[in-house]
């Protein structure tokens, strides 16, 4: 394997560990690294125990897992639709989830009900788009994209309707959910399982995904069962997105930008790109969420705004750097 790629993967692992540490140690209650060790070995004081284990760990873990889910789902969706602009939400999954979640918030439900309603909405949207796009047998990327975009627009209207009906007191919570919010997070057991299973399956399909990017005809001629692969990809990326949205609301940008950041950095093989996307997506969301709850503490900012604030300049810088690199090489 290319040594540069190995360095990149090692760097990502290191970055993941650092971002998790940073997330655990930052906040209104100061925690030093040695306090963390004390808590882990069972000798911490009760305040630090509580802050770390009950508040920060669930939130940091949920941020990492949902970032990883979003990154992976985004990379898969981009191959499925053969469109570099695709993100996990383009086919309306997040719209369905948001409609479910906002309905729950409107009814004053929280906790497990909120997560359940979001997941239910996402599943509902996923089946709807699959059924409609699949209706007449042919299942081109175009048709899927069109169906998804139109269904997403429908959800958007429903969301507007729910927001208009909402009493003022609930509006803030609903808006935060829409921009992505990790303050309701709990330790993401189910999310981690979905992530691991999804990554293993997707990485196993990695070489077929590389080939699907060359076009449907080329891929079929090279022995890829395109129809089956597309269905698997759709279900997989939808489930990953639904799991992410259930954890953290619709956090934008991670799923769009993380796969491209890594492609620009030279990772093209999906067998490496997918695990790397998961790591970088996790890191970015942990960083963004930690900043969201600390920069203007005690006020909390919507994490979705922070992901874009970090992601946009990073992406543009890399794009610019890469263009110069291409000129040098070419």
């Amino acid at each position: 394997m290319n040594p540069r790629i190995l360095m990149l993967l090692a760097g990502l692992l290191l970055l993941s560990a650092t971002s998790l540490l940073y997330g655990l140690l930052s906040g209104s209650v100061a925690v030093r690294p040695e306090d963390l060790l004390a808590v882990l070995s069972g000798h911490g004081d009760s305040l630090q125990d509580q802050v770390l284990l009950e508040l920060r760990w669930p939130r940091v873990a949920a941020a990492f897992v949902s970032g990883a889910l979003l990154g992976t789902a985004g990379a898969l969706m981009q191959v499925l639709l053969r469109n570099p602009l695709a993100d996990p939400y383009v086919l309306g999954i997040s719209g369905g989830a948001a409609s479910g979640a906002l309905l729950a918030l409107l009814l004053g439900l929280g906790g497990a009900w909120l997560h359940g309603a979001a997941f239910g909405g996402a599943l509902c949207s996923m089946l709807l788009v699959f059924g409609l796009a699949h209706g007449s047998g042919s299942w081109s990327a175009q048709r899927l994209l069109l169906t998804g975009v139109v269904v997403a627009a429908g959800w958007g209207a429903l969301i507007g309707f729910l927001l208009a009906l909402a009493p003022d007191g609930r509006l803030r919570g609903m808006l935060f959910w829409l921009m992505g919010d990790l303050s309701y997070a709990s330790v993401p057991v189910a999310g981690s399982c979905v992530l691991l299973a999804g990554l293993v399956i997707a990485t196993g399909l990695g070489r077929s995904l590389n080939i699907l990017a060359y076009g449907e005809q080329t891929a079929s001629a090279l022995g890829v069962g395109v129809t089956g692969l597309r269905r698997t990809l759709y279900l997989l990326s939808s489930l990953l997105t639904a799991a992410a949205v259930m954890l953290a609301g619709s956090i934008g940008f991670i799923g769009l930008i993380v796969p491209h950041l890594l492609r620009l950095a030279g990772l093209r093989d999906h067998r490496l790109l997918l695990p790397a996307t998961a790591l970088l997506g996790g890191c970015l969301l942990v960083l963004a969420d930690t900043l969201a709850r600390t920069v203007l503490a005690p006020r909390q900012l919507p994490v979705g705004a922070l992901t874009a604030l970090i992601g946009v300049p990073l992406f543009l810088a890399l794009l610019n750097y890469n263009r110069q690199g291409l000129v040098d090489r070419g």
Binding site: N83, L205, A213, Q217
Partner: protein
């Protein structure tokens, strides 16, 4: 005894959007055959090629590979037997030249298997054969149209299939590269006992490098045979344009009248 024919069509019927491409087509492709598929724009050459490649269902008739129905082959099995060079390439994401050529090894590798030294050697040899040695690390986006076309050919060569179907393989190639690629393809068809079936628009190059011709007239009828099938009447009917035969020192040449 095993059936040696790489592909056989019996009473094949192909149609697209209600329009008949061919009816009652019997075709036998044997090792060493160099077929050329000729026809005017819209006659259905690509549609027939995709059908023969097993990528599109036929409207009727049978296609068999060494005596087995084509539809009975699994995707990967089929891709080890029949390779296809599509008419054009679409690269959705950046990839390097070597990665693209290595894609040809896909049907030969298991799901969790990585390309090994042997696959890399096959891909590098294929790149060298089409004149792209030294381009391995280049991004496909930086290639010219002709270089991208030759990369497509390298991918097809790396696939190492006994039967190669090529849809206008000479697109974007300059005259030197057209001859080079045809030499390469016909040479390895003869040497390795492979068979070619290519869509060409240049009758003279076709007559020089191919030994079997399939003419699609666009109304469902067709004609096939060796060089004698190329005569002025048939070619005029084929293209809807009269052609003049000129005898040169290297054999006959056809010029549009």
């Amino acid at each position: 005894m095993a059936d040696a024919r790489l592909l056989q069509a019996a009473q094949l019927e192909v149609s697209i959007a209600g329009h008949a491409v061919c009816r009652d087509l019997d075709l036998q492709i044997a090792p060493g055959d160099r077929w050329c598929l000729l026809g005017r724009n819209g006659a259905g050459k690509t549609t027939l090629l995709l059908t023969l490649a097993g990528l599109r269902p036929a409207a009727g008739g049978q296609l068999t590979v060494r005596g087995r129905p084509l539809t009975a082959l699994a995707h990967r099995q089929r891709a080890r037997h029949i390779g296809l060079l599509p008419q054009d390439h679409q690269d959705a994401f950046p990839a390097s030249v070597l990665e693209t050529a290595l894609a040809g090894r896909h049907p030969w590798l298991g799901a969790w298997q990585w390309e090994g030294a042997r696959d890399r050697k096959i891909a590098a040899d294929a790149l060298a054969a089409v004149g792209l040695a030294g381009f391995e690390a280049r991004d496909t986006g930086t290639l010219s149209g002709g270089e991208r076309r030759r990369l497509g050919l390298a991918t097809l060569l790396a696939q190492q299939t006994p039967l190669q179907l090529l849809d206008e393989p000479l697109n974007h190639l300059d005259i030197h590269q057209q001859v080079r690629m045809l030499e390469l393809l016909t040479q390895q068809a003869t040497d390795a006992g492979r068979a070619l079936l290519m869509v060409l628009h240049d009758i003279n190059l076709a007559a020089r490098y191919c030994n079997r011709f399939l003419l699609l007239f666009g109304d469902g009828t067709h004609a096939q045979g060796s060089h004698e099938v190329l005569d002025a009447n048939r070619l005029q009917r084929l293209y809807g344009h009269p052609l003049t035969r000129i005898d040169t020192g290297h054999g006959p040449a056809w010029l549009p009248a």
